[in-house]
Amino acid sequence: MRISQRLFDLFPNIGIRNDELLKKLNRVGDIMGRPMQNRLIMGGTAILSQPYIDEHNKRVDKDTARAARNRTIGKILAGTAVGCIVRWGVYKVVGLTTDKDISIDRWDNSLTPRSSSKLPPHLFKNRMRNYRTVLATILSCIVMLGTNIIFDMPLTNKISNFLNNIDSKRKKKEQGQVKDTSKVLIKPASDNIRSKFDSLSKGGCA
């Protein structure tokens, strides 16, 4: 992507003076980048927008739009729950296996990069934190190839079928109500005619 200097100059040069604010921003960046938290943010924003968009899709009939909405809800809930658990677990494992000391090969430093020993000490903490995040995200992706089929898929189906059942029950109830109201509307009309006929015949007799 090429950026022109003229476009770039439209943005003013900004210096962040407030140290407290800077610390908070760095912390936010650190948290947002963590595998579990990142998945949670994506899932949280997805549940707010995607079901609404699917339900108001005017290109398909109402039933398909509702089924698609239910499936989207199921997919987001299952994906976020399983994704968060997997990422949290993998992040913990990565944390346990990236010990600082790499003088001897042990299980608790098995995932520590050997090139990290060449780093100056003041950069070590920061770079290792980023490394752990990236490694955990990559490993989570590999683990999720399996969990997507084992957990995500059946869980999505269960949630969406549950929501579909609620929808069909509601639909049946609404249809029943429509039938009832139609009966109520027709009944008095026929009754009225009959009663009028009866009254007329009675009147005639009298």
Binding site: D9, F11, I16, T64, A67, N126, R127, N130, Y131, D152
Partner: protein, 196 residues
């Protein structure tokens, strides 16, 4: 032993390439995750007996559209946003004040905000690397999250629904164009042709 050296090489590679800026890694792993998730969901839809044939067709197309549009919108929106935010930091457009002061003290004040200037290439960079990396990480991650949210939660659902309904309509109309599953009207026309 082979596995051990493979792990060492891989961890070294990830450390060297991704530990300075995690934004790019986040983008690539998210894309890989979508592909895997969409593939699993398609299998799920196909094996769910509670959906009608039309619903299965629509949802499979929706899932395919979801993966394709997600990746496309990520490249169109998230990637440029991430590159732009990294550029804002590397050229010194937006920086913590202590880094700006150091740059000005070293006589590079006039270069701040110029596209050909890169703080990481300056000789005094090692002194500011820690705070620079932390701030760059914040900007890069924020751009990846913001771009990813807009791309995958707003743009993608709208476009994938269009794509899915378009594909559903074309696939539902298709049987009538085939010889075997032709409409009664087509069959009648063909028999008349044979008779003549």
């Amino acid at each position: 032993m082979k596995l051990h050296s493979f792990v060492k090489k891989t961890t070294d590679f990830i450390f060297d390439k991704c530990s300075k800026d995690i934004g790019a890694a986040l983008i690539w792993t998210t894309i890989a995750g979508w592909i895997a998730s969409s593939a699993a969901q398609i299998v799920g839809i196909r094996h769910n007996s509670k959906y009608s044939k039309e619903q299965k067709k629509f949802m499979t197309n929706q899932e395919l559209g979801d993966a394709a549009v997600n990746i496309l919108s990520y490249f169109i929106l998230t990637m440029p946003l991430k590159i732009f935010s990294t550029k804002l930091v590397s050229t010194g457009k937006i920086l913590p004040n202590n880094i700006r002061k150091l740059i000005i003290r070293n006589g590079d004040g006039a270069k701040l905000g110029k596209l050909d200037f890169n703080i990481a290439n300056t000789p005094y960079f090692s002194g500011i690397e820690k705070s620079y990396n932390s701030f760059n990480n914040f900007m890069s991650t924020s751009a990846a999250v913001l771009g990813g949210t807009v791309a995958s939660n707003i743009i993608t659902p709208i476009l994938r629904n269009r794509f899915a309904s378009h594909r559903q309509n074309t696939s539902l109309n298709k049987p009538y164009q085939n010889g075997l599953n032709s409409s009664p009207f087509d069959r009648l026309r063909n028999t008349n042709k044979i008779k003549v």
